[in-house]
Amino acid sequence: MRILLAIILGGLFGFALHFAEASNPKKITQMLRLQDLSLMKIIVFAIGFASTLLFFADLVGIFDISHLSIKGVHLGVILGGLIFGIGFGSVGSCPGTCVAASTGDGFKKALATVLGGLVGAFVFSISYGWFKDLGLFSVMDLGKLTLFSISDEFPSLFSMGFIGLLITGVLFMAIAVLLPTNPSFGNSTVTETKQTDIGDL
């Protein structure tokens, strides 16, 4: 049953990524160059929407809080994020989207990214012990910290519970709506990249 759900949910996720054009590296790099923020709007709105749904699911009592999974805060999150950003910015792909893009247009480059990713993950696996001894995962260790007290399992900053997720959720959705698709300050190089979506101009 779990395997069947994995196929359905994984398939849905791949479908949603492709439908949102998040699996198109060009969309990601245009977003990061602040030329076309439509994908940014989608990501921010999606996070807010999911947060809001989570609040309502808890409100009506259908949400099992043991499904929550919070990752820890430590120096590795910052350093790893900075390294991740260099790769993310240069190829416009991330672990989920390069897997999604390994079918369809541009699949060869996506497969090259997946292969590179496998080697990168492997090199990290064998160097983990060394990083651990350096204290990378124990410096700034704040544990599995959450903003709001949604579960006794995790420490939290504010004791307002799921209502906090509703507030950030609505806030994120509002920011997404207000965010301009084509900010004017990024226009200098737009003409170079042959834009296909000038519908909003």
């Binding site: 395997i3 759900l5 994995a6 949910l9 849905l12 996720f13 791949g14 990524l17 949102a20 198109n24 790099t29 990061l32 160059r33 709007k41 709105f45 807010g48 999911a50 699911a57 499904h67 929550l68 999974s69 919070i70 990752k71 999150v77 790893g80 994020g81 900075l82 390294i83 991740f84 950003g85 260099i86 993310f88 910015g89 240069s90 190829v91 792909s93 672990p95 989920g96 897997v99 079918t103 541009g106 090259a112 990214t113 292969l115 590179g116 990168g120 993950a121 492997f122 090199v123 990290f124 696996s125 983990y128 012990g129 599995k144 949604i150 900053l157 997720l165 190089t189 296909t196 519908g199």
Partner: protein
Amino acid sequence: MRQKWILQAMLLGAVFFLAVLIIKPIGVSTQFSVLSGIVHSTIDPNVITVDESIDSGYRSTNAYYDKSEGKLAKSIKHPINYDFVFVLAIPLGAYLAHLLRRKKTNTQNTHEEVYSEPIPELPKVKGNFWRTYAPSFLGGFIILFGARMADGCTSGHMMSGMMQGSVSGYIFAAAVFLTAIPTAIIVEKLSLRKVGK
């Protein structure tokens, strides 16, 4: 068509919500460690060994596979589990969306919807295999190395994390955009210079 992005966002958000409602939050990058670990333990069978005395039943000489009571070691030895199959199913759904989009563009011929060629910025150099694929490979290497160090990626940390109000998700997102935005701008400048524009 103007509000199509909201529809795209709602579908993406709904999938993240459904995943945590039914099973657990979406995450992808760990499975890169699992797949590379499968190859690793096939070449070197001694790296992961059976140990009934701990919860997962597996121990590893590698500190990463051995972490959290051999959790990863177990996934490597038993890859047919929820997380791994979930990632394998991603391309299937994406392909379905790809076929649907192609069908739509063929029949309706709405030029603004035509799916643009991915990464057209780099000039096409005929027959130069390395020049075409080495940057993507190297990029993938950096992305997954960073993601594993941070213990999550755009899906696990940023989307799933921020959705649950996880502080690490916010920190990861801030760190990622801090380097991703300048990198994307610099890479474009460099590639334009190379074309001689």
